[in-house]
Amino acid sequence: MTVRVAFGTRTHWVGAALGAIAFVALAAAPLWGGRDDLQLLSEIYAYVALASLWNLLAGYAGLVSVGQQAYVGLGAYTLFALAILFGISPLWSIPLAGVVAAGLSVPVALLVFRLRGHYFAIGTWIVAEVFRLTASQISALGGGSGTSLPVAMVIAIAPTRQLRDFTMYWIALALAAAVLALIVWLLRSRYGLALKAIRDAELAASCSGVDVYRIKFLVYVITALATAMLGALIFLQKLRISPDAAFSVNDWTAFVIFITVIGGIGRIEGPIVGTLVFFALRQTLADLGTIYLMMLGLVAIVIMLAAPKGIWGLIVARFGWQLFPLERTVLSEKAQKR
């Protein structure tokens, strides 16, 4: 009997159609949106991508890192260093930032992979602190108080301000779409099968011949690469960098974790739903300041205790929707004929 494997359910066609429509509408945003809209949307894309990457790391590979700000900051500092010290155009620096981070993530992984579970989490945090403290010692980049991108470099992106806004907006959209595509591709490949096995039962996966260490290592390096590219882009849009902003545990890790948990960890749709909820809350409640942040923490705790699979987990349990063609269904010959 030949066995065929099919991806996805009927709803993923709905997902694909929705995704295509959304992508076209968002790509055309410079036509219908103002400057503020573009900035907000860029920010949303950055968080969708960061949360998706953290989800890949923690939700699938079981690497619960609290130190991804290390790579956001590293990417951002690489971009500023290349621009200020070597005069390299920021647009070229974004992929270069990814390469630098991927290279540096290898020794870091060799070190922090010695720690397990929770200790891994805090170990990654310490590495991020080392990065931050090191960055604040580099006086050529402004030391502890940071620096701005030189005007010549800003103009090198595009001659007019409007064109710069559009360029950076499209880069943000393209980067977020590329991150999602990368994750979908990764999860559909053999590695995806291994990752899901690790997610569901690490020991069993290891016993079934999955090289758990190698897969985790690979995921860690890929995540570092993409996170650094996002970091470079985020700070290119800010035009200013400081060690505290670039290596902020709150902005680049706490928010990202809350987004993923609220949306649904271990599912690709989770971070997208979580980001939308996060920004909806922020646009309405941010004036409350600290109270808003306390509420965010409380919501994350309640979700973790009451619905550990997050909002998307509840939707899947209720309706069985699936927006991305990831789940494998085994079709026997009989089923095919039917």
């Binding site: 907000l40 923690a58 010695r114 720690l115 805090i122 545990v249 902005d251 306390m294 973790m304």
Partner: protein, 337 residues
């Protein structure tokens, strides 16, 4: 992306920046005594030697505080495999409780311990009973995320109540009292008391863990939770007691933190990291190892700060990473008592 910063403005108070200030720097200036005379030769060499002895001594004394940060962390990890991300924020919370108690009742910080310790222990028991017990299980994520959420809530709660201004707990004349050990070598009475308390806390925990019925319950629930339950232990109660004990230690650490230097709501995460580093340097599961880990961290930071004020915290992190690379099980891993 300007509005990320705007929307999160209050978070700026919560970042770690302020904690890299010199609040943990050993107060060498005070203890160094009179300035060195401008003479060279043997006298100069002995001055330099004294200076280094002084740096290391101050590091050791601060290390006691770090060991106290670490002991509570180590205890709950040993009993229920829980790493409490909010540990540092609970230390800062204890410091604020001590501040409020000392100011309302008009008593000294060390007397205030009589109230702060039971209050923190009660918070610990309730926290474990109502929240954290629900997160325990095979999955690592729930306890991590829930304590992470708690950390954010405590930090921002303290920020709302006490603002971001740093405060300090006054302990009176004991703060400036010093003892002369040798020519040009002085130690503060308060750091000495702090160190003695740290050693006493570690010894006390060791005693509780290996010599009492409570300690037996802790070890039983840690090693074989299901069997412990069958033998009539209520694991939820045992875990809650462990958290209460952990926060009692946190209370002591918090009071010493508050007396030592200025503190503010954003300092929690750095305390967590110092405690964690001490645990890993010392070796998991060994209380005396944790003390040694705290001392090593304290000395590393003191030496770093002496070389360059900007290197203090970095030197501690690097010592931690070196131990992790060379001896991932820690310097003094658990040995059967």
């Amino acid at each position: 992306m300007r509005s990320v910063v705007e929307g999160a403005r209050s978070w700026e108070f919560c970042n770690l920046r302020k904690t890299i200030g010199n609040i943990d720097a050993p107060s060498t200036a005070q203890a160094r005594g009179p300035p060195p005379p401008l003479s060279w030769g043997r006298k100069y060499a002995s001055k330099r030697l004294m200076e280094w002895i002084n740096v290391i001594l101050q590091g050791v004394l601060v290390g006691g505080l770090y060991a106290m940060f670490a002991a509570g962390l180590s205890l709950i990890f040993g009993v229920m495999r829980l790493v409490n991300i909010a540990h540092g924020d609970l230390i800062v919370l204890a410091a604020y409780v001590a501040l409020v108690v000392a100011q309302t009742l008009g008593i000294g910080p060390l007397t205030a311990l009589i109230i702060v310790v039971p209050v923190m222990a009660a918070i610990g028991y309730a926290l474990q009973w109502f929240v954290l017990n629900r997160t325990l299980g095979d999955d690592l994520l729930p306890p991590l995320l829930v304590t992470f959420g708690l950390s954010v809530i405590i930090q921002n709660g303290l920020l709302t109540l006490f603002t971001a201004d740093s405060v300090k707990l006054q302990a009176g004349p004991i703060e400036v009292a010093t003892i002369r050990l040798a020519e040009g070598l002085y130690v503060g009475v308060l750091p000495l008391v702090q160190f003695a308390v740290a050693v006493a806390v570690i010894a006390g925990l060791q005693l509780v863990f290996y010599r009492t019925a409570l300690g037996r319950a802790f070890r039983a629930a840690a090693d074989e939770p299901a069997m412990a339950q069958l033998m009539g232990l209520d694991n939820r109660h045992v875990f809650a007691l462990a958290m209460a004990l952990s926060l009692a230690v946190v209370a002591i650490a918090g009071v010493f933190l508050a007396v030592r230097a200025n503190f503010d709501p954003s300092q929690g995460p750095a305390r967590l990291i110092f405690g964690f580093e001490a645990v890993i340097i010392g070796g998991l599961g060994s209380l005396w190892g944790t003390l040694a880990g705290g001392l090593i961290l304290g000395v590393a930071q003191a030496v770093g700060a002496h070389l360059n004020p900007g290197w203090q915290i970095l030197a501690g992190h690097i010592a931690f990473l070196i131990v992790l690379a060379a001896r991932p099980q820690g310097l003094f891993p658990k040995v059967r008592p």
